[in-house]
């Protein structure tokens, strides 16, 4: 078995059997339940359409699922640093990118678990209008892209940060900066400048893509250009984590 798989196996056990994986998933499920309840009741009194309800729930699942992956990744290396266990890991005669790949795989498992949890919610909201397969496929694709990118970002920051507190703070700051445009009022999301901002921001671009497919009923190929930013984000974040792995040191960037 390759090194990354050994590391991933241990990290998965740590996350799901001994760690906070289930606690995070329960909190996520509660959030998704609340969101689904609200959109379902709004839909019942015709405030929002059924397609919109599916889209909104899916967008929450994707955004929060990616956030969970980021949280796990941001703690992956700096957490070991805090606990004083990084030195023994660095002493293993293995390529460091494989150590980070194993840790990244464990972080991604949070997104996959979040997606699995979202499936019945999407089915509940969408099965009446035969809107289940497309949202789930699109959600899996976009969510995996965002989760992969956030995992890469988290690993890179975690490798460089002296403590997990710093690492989490930096990652949350980046995440908040990416989330801010999703909270703009409708008036601020129209026009060429707003569209440009949406297209350049991988999070808003991914969420917009989902909205086009699920709410507006557009085709995936037709809207594929919205996936450019998430794709670039994936490549950049994974490359950053590979570079961080090659420069991984005991004390982070302070050394």
């Amino acid at each position: 078995m390759s090194v990354w798989a050994v590391v991933a196996g241990r990290e998965l056990a740590d996350l799901w059997l001994r760690g906070r994986g289930f606690a995070l998933l329960v909190a996520y499920s509660v959030l998704l339940s609340a969101t689904t309840y609200l959109v379902a009741t709004n839909q019942a009194i015709n405030f929002i359409e059924q397609r919109e309800a599916v889209g909104l729930t899916l967008q929450v699942a994707v955004a929060v699922g990616a956030l969970l992956a980021l949280l796990a990744a941001a703690d992956a290396v700096s957490g070991e640093r805090d606990r004083g266990s990084l030195e023994t890991l660095l002493l293993a005669p293995v390529p460091r990118w494989q150590v980070l790949a194993g840790k990244g795989a464990a972080a991604l498992s949070l997104w996959l678990a979040a997606f699995v949890v979202a499936v019945p919610y999407v089915w509940f909201l969408g099965h009446g209008i035969d809107l289940v397969a497309v949202p789930l496929a699109a959600g899996l694709a976009v969510g995996t892209m965002l989760a992969l990118a956030f995992t890469g970002l988290g690993l890179a920051v975690s490798s460089a940060a002296a403590t997990s507190r710093v690492s989490l703070a930096v990652c949350m700051l980046v995440l908040l900066a990416l989330y801010v445009p999703t909270q703009f009022p409708v008036g601020a999301t129209t026009g060429w400048a707003a569209e440009l901002l949406q297209r350049f921001n991988p999070l808003t671009a991914g969420v917009h893509f989902l909205g086009r497919l699920v709410i507006d009923g557009r085709g995936a190929v037709e809207e594929a250009s919205w996936l450019a930013a998430p794709l670039v984000f994936v490549v950049a974040a994974v490359a950053a984590s590979v570079v961080a792995a090659s420069r991984l040191r005991l004390t982070g960037v302070r050394e």
Binding site: M1, V6, V7, G19, T88, L90, L91, A92, P93, L250
Partner: protein
């Protein structure tokens, strides 16, 4: 064959040299005690030799492998880092098996290695307990076991007895002693326990402010830096003045007087530097016996590693 070689190894942080020009060589099967006050560069030296920290300049080789081949060195060494952390919610056996797998063992081999090593460090019965239930001494022994998962040829132990009670210190030092005697492993041991270094180590490296203050076999370093130059005599209290008079008349004795604050009949003797310690002590004893002064006790003072340490590391 040389197990460890360092040549002008230096590590700088800006203008500050944490380690400055460390040069030494250690043969296979030796046990080197690395001593020094806090901030002397012990941990920096060990981290550079174990490839965790890149040197600013200088060269080194471990097990004949040059320092540039970091991964090859890591495959041949075992390390117990200073203040190593352990996963609290993992058992000792799981912890060791994981690290054995990182060193290329199959799952079954890793489990077998973990059980064997737990037995070797006296943790066989606690192998399945969570590490969070281990005492500090048990964790240190687990750390030593982890350092052995790859059957290393050189083992680096950074302050393995730090924070342990006397029993824990003894257990860890016994484990270190067994490493060298039973496995033939070369050991670098950083510690503050000077007396224990005398018991366990064959060689000693004393660092002070990043520089080598003393280096060599323990006996040689002690002889060079802290050969005993004083002695204490106990005689019949009524013959104390006679003893002092006889001793003062000898070329081998620089000074002699009733020991201040000592027991009745105790005489403090300063041996002359004109003769070596053994000859001066022998001459003093012979003169006392010739003069009919009863010698109840005669002991040389100093000559311990702790004396050498204090000699080469000024306050």
């Amino acid at each position: 064959m040389r197990a460890v070689e360092a040549e002008e190894l230096t590590r700088r942080y800006g203008a500050l040299a944490a380690l400055d020009g460390l040069t030494f060589a250690l043969d296979e099967g030796r046990v080197l005690g690395v001593l020094g006050p806090n901030g002397a560069g012990k941990t920096t030296a060990i981290r550079m030799l174990t490839t965790i920290l890149a040197p600013s300049s200088g060269r080194f080789a471990v097990a004949g492998i040059p320092g540039e081949r970091e991964r090859d060195i890591r495959a041949r060494i075992g390390v117990l880092p200073e203040s190593a952390g352990y996963p609290a919610r993992e058992s000792g056996e799981e912890y060791l098996a994981y690290h054995a797998r990182l060193h290329g063992r199959s799952s079954a081999e890793a489990r077998a290695t973990a059980r064997r090593l737990l037995g070797e460090v006296g943790l066989a019965e606690r192998g399945r307990s969570l590490i969070q239930t281990y005492s500090r001494g048990m964790r240190q022994r687990l750390g030593i076991a982890r350092a052995l998962v790859n059957d290393p040829v050189v083992v680096f132990l950074d302050e393995p007895t730090l924070g342990l009670d006397p029993r824990g210190q003894r257990d860890v030092l016994q484990a270190v002693g067994r490493l060298a005697s039973e496995r033939g492993v070369t050991v670098l041991l950083s510690t503050h326990l000077l007396d224990e270094v005398e018991q366990v180590c064959t060689d000693v490296l004393i660092l002070n402010r990043g520089r080598v203050a003393a280096l060599g076999a323990v006996g040689d370093v002690v002889a060079r830096a802290a050969a005993p130059r004083s002695a204490r005599l106990r005689t019949d209290p009524g013959r104390c003045d006679d003893a002092v008079r006889v001793l003062r008349g000898l070329e081998a004795v620089g000074a002699a007087a009733a020991a201040p604050g000592g027991r009745p009949g105790e005489v403090a003797i300063e041996l002359s530097t004109l003769l070596n310690t053994d000859a001066a002590a022998a001459a003093a004893l012979a003169a006392l016996l010739d003069a009919g002064v009863p010698v109840v006790e005669f002991s040389l003072e100093g000559g311990r590693l702790s004396d050498a340490f204090l000699e080469v590391v000024p306050a």
